[in-house]
């Protein structure tokens, strides 16, 4: 009964990956890649994207999970609304944000003009603003999911711990530092690492918002690989991914270890 999945794995994972690695064997591909100014910019963008977007997202998720654990009927309703970005497909909402940021006709700049009588910034035609907005889109989309994870983590903490610390006269900050954080630290760190891997594969937030432009200055590794495919340079696309592997595989290994350990502990 394992056979169907083994077939899927061999035909659609193992063979493609092996074939891909074989295509990426020429040293020339890497020379071309490193000579491409777009590549260097892409690596910098990817590092910024990972460090800033993931950490801002988790800081917000940590804060918001503290808000959503308040026991109120209206907060439960708000959490139902809050999950919408995660529940709907990426394309409609990213296109919506893309048009909102249109410098001439977009909602943002027209409100900006009404408030200040000045023209707003040229959001997506400026590489820095464009990448920032791609990170905003990414956070908008992924924040609800990670907030939910951290809410679950917070709800698993025994209430007695908080009651006992209240009796001892602990301030909210002390409660967070000595009760909440030690209990969810592992969850927080594991989630951050998993999110880093997934964020590295986030193609939509950049491609559908800026398309990698202006002038290919807002690409990240995932969109650069696809750009090379569209230019019919598959070897180049594979080389891009091979270059990223040394940074991805340790995280993948860590996550697999973590899950296996979890599995055996049961």
């Amino acid at each position: 009964m394992l056979t169907p999945y083994i077939l899927v794995f061999l035909v659609f994972v193992l063979y493609p990956v092996t074939y891909g690695l074989w295509l990426a064997r020429h040293p020339q591909s890497y020379v071309t890649l490193f000579d491409d100014p777009v590549f260097f910019r892409t690596v910098v963008n990817t590092i910024i994207f990972l460090l800033v977007a993931v950490n801002v997202k988790f800081a917000l998720a940590l804060f918001l999970s503290g808000f959503f654990v308040h026991d109120r009927a209206w907060i439960r309703w708000l959490s139902v609304i809050f999950i919408i970005p995660w529940a709907v497909p990426a394309i409609p909402t990213i296109f919506s944000i893309r048009f909102m940021l249109n410098p001439e006709w977009g909602l943002i700049n027209s409100v900006w003009f009404r408030l200040t009588a000045l023209d707003g910034p040229n959001w997506l035609n400026d590489p820095r603003l464009g990448l920032t907005m791609a990170m905003v889109v990414h956070i908008w989309k992924a924040l609800p999911f990670w907030t939910l994870i951290l809410i679950a983590g917070r709800l698993a903490i025994p209430r007695e711990l908080y009651e006992a610390s209240s009796v001892d006269g602990a301030t909210p900050w002390q409660k967070f530092k000595y009760v909440t954080w030690p209990s969810i630290r592992t969850l927080y760190l594991t989630s951050t690492i998993l999110s880093m891997i997934w964020t590295l594969g986030d193609f939509n937030s950049v491609y559908l918002l800026t398309g990698g432009g202006p002038a290919d200055l807002t690409h990240v590794l995932s969109t650069l690989g696809i750009r090379y495919i569209r230019l019919d340079q598959v070897d180049q696309a594979m080389a891009t991914i091979v270059v990223a592997l040394p940074f991805v595989l340790p995280f993948v290994y860590f996550m697999m270890k973590r899950l296996s350990a979890d599995d055996e502990g049961r």
């Binding site: 891909g20 918001l64 939910l148 690989g225 697999m256």
Partner: protein, 278 residues
């Protein structure tokens, strides 16, 4: 008074959350009920709200919409096929690993997890090349098979976790009564696993319906592309009819959102938390 201040603080957090979450959603809705002129004027509410955009979409009366019904059918076909195929493959695999304890089960589980953790956009490049070798490009099956590949690792893992929790006494009792593994699978395992199976089927279905990257890489012909790729075509020119795009996008986004909320109980609680709990 103290209580009042505390409630006010909560509302002070709630209002930005509400604005942040709903603005892009409202913007889709706003465009879909606006005329072109009104949409491009940056108004917060149209002068004359209209449903004509939806009529234009349903009657396919625009160059970008000539294949609307065909594309929505493709989306549906691909999503349902992915859901069913993933369910079949993952259920069998989870049963073999968790209940039959077949040899090599652990290795297969690790292979699946490895696939799960590799960023999907990275796997897309070799997958595209391989589909070309198999001669499947521009065939809807290529997207179905790619999505099954992406969905089944997580599906197997979740089903294995759920299956591990079922009591062993059931299997023993069934064996004593002389049940074959297949009977055990059909009569004991499947009925008990129903809630997880519903959740996993939904997960795979939504994953396929929402997918953009693999869809536009593997399918490019007007007649084979799902609606997601059709929406992407609107960006081909600068003066695209954004009000029609948003009306189409709204139609595209509603079914998965409705399904997500209908199965929310399973989707959030059962599926995700276990994946990261350390």
């Amino acid at each position: 008074m103290n209580k009042f201040v505390r409630e006010a603080k909560l509302w002070l957090i709630a209002i930005p959350i509400l604005l942040w979450t709903l603005l892009p959603i409202y913007h889709i809705f706003l465009f879909s009920i606006s005329t072109k002129d009104s949409a491009f004027s940056g108004a917060l509410w149209p002068d004359k709200p209209t449903l004509r955009n939806f009529g234009t979409v349903f009657r396919q009366e625009h160059f970008y919409l000539h294949h609307f019904w065909e594309q929505i059918w493709n989306s549906l076909w691909i999503a349902v096929a992915t859901g069913l195929l993933t369910l079949a493959i993952a259920t069998c695999a989870a049963f073999a690993i968790s209940r039959l304890k077949v040899k090599g089960g652990r290795a297969v589980m690790n292979a699946a997890l490895f696939t799960y953790f590799i960023p999907a956009a990275f796997l897309a490049v070799p997958m595209y090349k391989a589909m070309g070798t198999y001669g499947l490009l521009n065939n809807r099956w290529s997207l179905v098979l790619a999505m099954v590949t992406l969905a089944s690792p997580y599906a197997i893992w979740v089903l294995k976790q759920a299956s591990d929790k079922l009591p062993w006494e059931l299997d023993e009792a069934a064996r004593i009564d002389g049940a074959t593994p297949l009977q055990l699978f059909r009569l004991v395992y499947l009925p008990l696993m129903m809630p997880s199976l519903v959740a996993i089927g939904t997960y795979a279905l939504l994953l396929a319906w929402n997918e953009y990257l693999y869809a536009f890489l593997l399918l490019s012909h007007e007649n084979t592309i799902p609606l997601a790729v059709g929406l992407g075509h609107f960006l081909a020119s600068d003066d695209s009819p954004w009000e029609l795009l948003m009306a189409t996008a709204l139609i595209y986004a509603l079914p998965p959102a409705a399904i997500y909320y209908a199965f929310r109980r399973y989707m959030v609680g059962g599926l995700t938390v276990g994946a990261v709990k350390g």
